[in-house]
């Protein structure tokens, strides 16, 4: 498997997933079904996470085909610009969905503003994702192209959306134009990391039996700090990738790190979507968490330290993946 293959494997998830999420969300509003609504929010969060490797693998897919006959760099750039705009809306939708899930945990249901905003943004995301799919199909499927040059034959709506899509090359240059801007992004990436590890690490350690005098419910209230840190790190991480796409794409440490982040998503699902969370949620001082909660806590600690370590190895492992 190469990066082009990975891109093709992943690229259907954000498109179809957000459509399924919007469907569940609309049905939940029509039927006033809180479980369906939560399912919709969970799907948006998962899609926001999966969109990251989908986006990142695009540069590798470009590298694999750009020198083949009949491949147009204009079409690839159009697809990349569309993907960048769609990713922005997808990540904001995902972040607000996580906020809604937190609200439904704390106040039994998401706030009204949250539901309205998520609905609106997810509808825009579905539209933008459809455009990413179409422009992506145009790159490699001449049989579905609208005319000889689809970029020039766009409809009115397509041209309007295109005006908001960043030009990939200009965006890349903008991120690396000033070394202090780059240092600032890296700095924020570290600070976001500390917010995550401070909050998640404390919760994990408590579940493993450290500082047992702390009630788990109160330590769990730190989770919004971790979510805020994760939002900072997704933002700065994506901007860094856009700044040096080739550097990250052909780096084995980068991909293992992203894989570890996805595994952390799975670990969080194992915690919150099974009854494990309900078992530990109300544990008071001195109470011992069940073994499966300890396994999840240990996995989380190991994976987060893996993510940190792999992040430090990205610099040394550049160019470890061939294909360009």
């Amino acid at each position: 498997m190469n990066l082009a293959h990975l891109h093709l494997l992943l690229n259907h998830f954000p498109i179809i997933g957000t459509i399924v999420g919007v469907g569940l969300f609309l049905f939940s509003l029509a039927g006033k079904n809180d479980d369906l609504q939560r399912a919709g929010l969970i799907i948006f969060s998962v899609m926001a996470l999966l969109s990251l490797p989908t986006f990142f693998s695009g540069i590798g897919a470009q590298g694999a085909i750009e020198k083949l006959p009949g491949v147009s760099s204009v079409l690839i750039d159009r697809h990349e610009g569309a993907a960048t705009l769609a990713l922005l809306f997808m990540e904001i939708t995902g972040a607000l969905s996580l906020a809604g899930l937190w609200q439904s945990h704390k106040f039994s249901r998401p706030a009204r503003w949250n539901i309205v905003t998520v609905l609106l943004l997810s509808l825009i995301t579905v539209g933008l994702m459809a455009r990413v799919g179409t422009t992506g199909g145009d790159v490699r499927h001449p049989e579905i192209r609208a005319g000889a040059d689809p970029a020039a034959n766009e409809g009115t709506l397509g041209s309007i959306v295109h005006a908001f899509e960043p030009s990939p090359d200009k965006f890349t240059k903008l991120m690396t134009a000033n070394k202090y801007w780059w240092a600032f992004m890296m700095d924020m990436h570290f600070i976001g990391l500390i917010m995550i590890i401070g909050a998640v690490g404390a919760l994990d350690l408590r579940m493993l039996g450290f500082a047992k005098a702390l009630p788990i419910a109160s330590v769990h209230r730190l989770v919004p700090w971790a979510l805020a840190g994760f939002a900072i790190n997704v933002t700065t991480g994506v901007l860094a990738f856009i700044g040096m796409p080739v550097f990250y794409t052909y780096d084995v440490a980068f991909w293992i790190k992203i894989f570890a982040v996805l595994l952390l998503g799975l670990n969080a699902a194992a915690f919150y979507l099974t009854d494990t969370f309900k078992m530990v949620e109300h544990m008071g001082p001195g109470e011992d968490a069940p073994p499966r909660a300890k396994i999840i806590a240990a996995s989380s600690l190991v994976l987060w330290f893996g993510v940190i370590t792999l992040g430090r190895y990205i610099q040394s492992y550049q160019g470890t993946i061939s294909g360009r």
Partner: protein
Amino acid sequence: MLVGANALVDLRLLGFSPSIPLAPLKRFFRIMWIGFGINAATGVVLLISYPTKALTNPVFYAKLTMIASAIWILMKLQKEVFGDPTLPETDMMARGASLAKWSLALWVGAISAGRLLAYTFKYILYPF
């Protein structure tokens, strides 16, 4: 291990997440000291490997000053706020609030200086 745990204690002292009991957070000081030990040891190794890179950069001295001050505050927190187990939470917060603010500011400063070090050095090795 050092900054994450210290920030947690600082924020709690400043009144965030008031449902977390303060006294048991004392256990986290051990984690902070282990973290500091690792960072000090690996930092010294890095300094020995690239002495010119660090010592010719004023940012390096700013970073060390901020770390030293943050560690001094950490020791004060441990002794003055968490040292007396009979102290009620309100007194712990009253004593710790300004220390906590300084601690957070110094750690953010030290981390930023550390990141800046990777981009502002003049020489990696001694220029022959």
